[in-house]
């Protein structure tokens, strides 16, 4: 299966994401620079990595969301191509309007970098089929702006439609309802602050992230 990792100036988890995808699929994803206006033909998965695209200027993800490649990403997402945004990638997806809400400065103002306990809130999605409903997992976070906020109506809708994929089991950054990751209404776009690509093999100390890629690739293969 063909996949692409989008690379912005300031992305810094793009290579980790490439390694994770290659580990699970056996095929290296194409690394697509933000100035490209088209994605490789026949793409089956788009991944938007963590980092500090454009130095987090203006707002985290704001500049990246307006870069040429994101028009192609939006168009592909509209056709149902799965899009996975991790950390800064989640911020880019909200700024691009592909996911609702916004990610604000952590309530404690500190950069948080540690493994966090998560609950799988929806194990039926394209991205979470390899987890059990309500399963407790641990995946590292590393962010300054992970405080997910949306109006009450949006939050209720996300909860009601099973679009909260992951929830923090403890307060990590002040996120509304401790939301760690959400899915779009069509079910093919996931944004999450924790880094599953950093929990792939025993040397990482934990493999809870690996099943996200395995489940996703099984679903799209």
């Amino acid at each position: 299966m063909k996949s692409a990792v989008i690379v912005f100036p300031g992305s810094n988890c793009d290579r980790d994401l490439k390694v994770a995808i290659e580990l699970v699929t056996g095929h290296a994803p194409e690394m697509v620079w933000h100035k490209e206006s088209e994605l490789p033909a026949g793409i089956g998965l788009i991944a938007i990595p963590g980092g500090f695209s454009y130095g987090d200027y203006l707002r985290s993800g704001a500049m990246a969301a307006r870069s040429p490649v994101m028009r192609a990403v939006s168009e592909a997402a509209g056709r149902g191509v799965p899009v996975l945004g991790i950390c800064n990638g989640f911020q880019v997806l909200t700024e691009a309007g592909l996911l609702p809400g916004a990610l604000m400065r952590n309530a404690g103002l500190s950069f948080v970098s540690r493994p966090v306990a998560l609950t799988v809130e929806n194990a039926q999605s394209l991205f979470t089929a390899r987890y059990r409903q309500g399963e407790a997992i641990s995946i590292p976070v590393a962010h300054h702006d992970g405080n997910y906020q949306a109006d009450g109506e949006t939050l209720d809708r996300l909860e009601g439609e099973g679009r909260v994929a992951f929830r923090y089991s403890e307060s990590v950054n002040g996120s509304a309802r401790q939301i760690a990751g959400i899915i779009n209404d069509a079910g093919n776009v996931l944004g999450m602050m924790p880094h599953p690509e950093r929990a792939m093999e025993p040397a990482h100390g934990n493999e809870d992230g690996r099943r996200l890629f395995e489940g996703l690739l099984e679903a799209v293969a």
Partner: protein
């Protein structure tokens, strides 16, 4: 022509930075500060004749995230 765009968090949106500034002011002994909200000021140098609508469009499309922020435009006609 110049314009200033003030971007502020919507009322009710928690402002951790404003809160930290508030605490710091209190720490310096400034009493009587009820609340602090931090925002951004963006100065634009524009072609003459740029309309308010165009500037508002810039705000909606990039300068402000209207999910969480409001914006206010101030034109400086003689600048």
């Amino acid at each position: 022509m110049k314009a200033r765009v003030f971007v502020t968090l919507k009322p009710g949106v928690l402002d951790p930075q404003g809160k930290a500034i508030h605490h710091a002011l209190e720490g310096l002994g400034f009493g009587g500060v009820q609340d602090v909200r931090a925002g951004k000021l963006i100065e634009l140098d524009l072609a003459d004749g740029t309309s308010d609508d165009e500037i508002a469009d810039m705000c909606r499309k990039l300068l402000a995230n209207t999910v969480i922020e409001n914006f206010r435009i101030e034109r400086l006609e003689n600048a």
